[in-house]
């Protein structure tokens, strides 16, 4: 039994089946990267782990507790041990950076204001955002917002960190910065991480294992070395980044295809 167990997880929205019998297990201290095309259910997987969505069948267990069977209070207890980093950071835009990072501490920890300040500064330092505590989210760039989101997620010292496409929409340099921040957090905090990303470079640096979701199913979950050599045509097409192959459910029209060739 791993720290996080995803067992036969299925989820559909109306007629659209997003996840179909996904099985994954993440050990304590392990770093799993989940790859997959847009709309293949990667974010839905994370939302099921957080209990933001309820599975149609199957279940997610965190430390042996089945998320969908917990009461609201039990779920909130489990969530305190999980830090979630959203794709667009989801910072509270009416609050400053400091208030965002301090939010969980003020609500769940019996800390003095001095202790809260020290912890917020420590978290901001870990993500390279020291000195931004008085700024509002609207004054930050995309990469800065993501890093403040990371700081907010680690403030409660979680055992598990979930990253939902942390590099999407960022320039290559900032993508690398974010990749290094995730790696630093993993080494310094020793947390278990699940990262959803399209960025293969940082995926191979961060990952202990890489999983690939394809049409709602997990078709590979291996160490980066084995994954790179996986002969599955979908894996190889994804690694090459080619338009031709079985990966696309909705391939480009023929004319466009010729132009690409």
């Amino acid at each position: 039994m791993g720290l996080i167990d995803v067992v036969n997880l299925s989820k559909a929205f109306g007629p659209k089946v997003v996840l179909s019998g996904v099985n994954l297990s993440v050990e304590e201290g392990e770093s799993l990267v989940v790859l997959g095309g847009s709309g293949t259910g990667k974010t839905v997987l994370l939302r099921n782990i957080m209990g933001l969505l309820t599975p149609d069948s199957g279940h997610v267990a965190v430390e042996g507790k089945i998320i969908s069977r917990l009461s609201r209070d039990e779920l909130f207890q489990v969530r305190q041990s999980i830090g979630m980093c959203f794709q667009m950071a989801a910072l509270f835009d009416s609050m400053t950076v400091f208030e965002n990072v301090a939010f969980g501490l003020r609500r769940h920890q019996k800390m003095t204001e001095g202790q809260v300040t020290a912890r917020v500064e420590e978290c901001l330092s870990l993500v390279g955002m020291r000195g931004t505590d008085k700024l509002k989210p609207a004054e930050l760039s995309g990469g800065m917002k993501r890093r403040v989101g990371f700081a907010r997620a680690i403030a409660l010292k979680p055992k598990i960190l979930l990253f939902d496409e942390p590099t999407t929409g960022l320039d290559p340099v900032m993508t690398d910065v974010i990749g290094k921040v995730i790696l630093d957090l993993k080494h310094e905090l020793g947390v278990t991480t699940i990262t959803i990303t399209h960025d293969l470079k940082s995926a191979f640096i961060i990952a202990d294992r890489i999983a690939l979701l394809f049409r709602g199913e997990c078709i590979a979950c291996q160490t980066p070395e084995v994954f790179r050599e996986n002969p599955h045509p979908v894996v190889q097409q994804f690694l090459r980044g080619d338009a031709d192959g079985p990966f696309l459910q909705d391939p480009p029209p023929p004319k466009h295809k010729e132009a690409l060739a």
Partner: protein, 258 residues
């Protein structure tokens, strides 16, 4: 053709019941969360300011305008029967029993309810409400409860302000323009009123406050579809809460005047 009609009517009824059920469940969860911990005093004070203090100018101006218009109409009407003296009595009755609570309720539905729907709607589509959940914070407790308490407390206070302003609105017209005696106006305004009327007005305002907060939060919380959804939420909130204020006003009046 007939089958299609029944099919559409049936699905409409089911949809309406689904919506009503969803509102009832969220409202129930809000009342159940009132006494839950942690108590966030700063958040509550911010809502008191947003709902109460910031709404004072609009409540004062609308109450003044409506009470003045009403006084003009009363003075004109009663003049037909040489009964100008009754104008101040009816003005007092109308302001206290209906105009103050209803006008305050409707103005706050527009000013505060729409702001709640827009704020929560934006939070919903930008995943801020999911972020609250992930930070082990119940959005109902953190977002709904302070707004409900602030509205339920501030609406009666603003209604009392509206009654006071209404008195001076009538004074400006009936004393200042129509030439009635200030002393007589001061006595006549309250002549037909009893303490019960003030209590009824405050009860009504209390209910209107709850309607405004619950509908505004509910519409915002259930926002879907990005910018269009955020745009629709305040409009829908104002229309729904205004409608319910007017409907509940009828039933409350019937119930409380017996």
């Amino acid at each position: 053709m007939v089958l299609t009609f029944f099919d559409k009517a049936g699905s409409g009824v089911l949809r309406a019941m689904d919506t009503a059920g969803d509102f009832a469940v969220l409202s129930g969860r809000t009342f159940a969360a009132i006494f839950k911990r942690p108590f966030d005093g700063a958040n509550l004070l911010r809502q008191f300011q947003a709902v109460g203090i910031n709404s004072l100018p609009v409540v004062v101006l609308t109450s003044l305008a409506v009470s003045m218009v009403f006084a003009v109409q009363l003075a004109f009407g009663f003049k037909q029967f040489q009964a100008e003296g009754l104008a101040s009595q009816v003005e007092g009755l109308a302001v206290m029993r209906e105009l103050a609570p209803v006008i305050t309720g409707l103005m706050l539905a527009g000013r505060v309810g729409s702001a709640m729907a827009a704020e929560l709607g934006t939070m919903q589509v930008t995943e801020q409400i999911d972020a609250l959940e992930c930070l082990a914070t119940d959005p109902i407790h953190y977002l709904f409860v302070p707004r409900l308490i602030a509205s339920a407390v501030m609406l009666p206070i603003l209604t009392a302000v509206s009654v006071y302003v209404g008195f001076w609105g009538g004074y400006l017209i009936l004393v200042g323009v129509e030439g009635q005696s200030a002393y007589v106006y001061g006595n006549e305004f309250y002549k037909l009123l009893a303490f019960r009327d003030l209590r009824i007005a405050l009860y009504k305002a209390f209910v209107f406050g709850m309607i405004i907060a619950l509908v505004g939060c509910w519409k915002g919380y259930r926002t879907q579809g990005g910018a269009e959804g955020v745009g629709n939420a305040p409009t829908s909130s104002v229309v729904t809460s205004s409608l319910w204020i007017l409907i509940s006003d009828f039933f409350l009046t019937k119930l409380l005047l017996v």
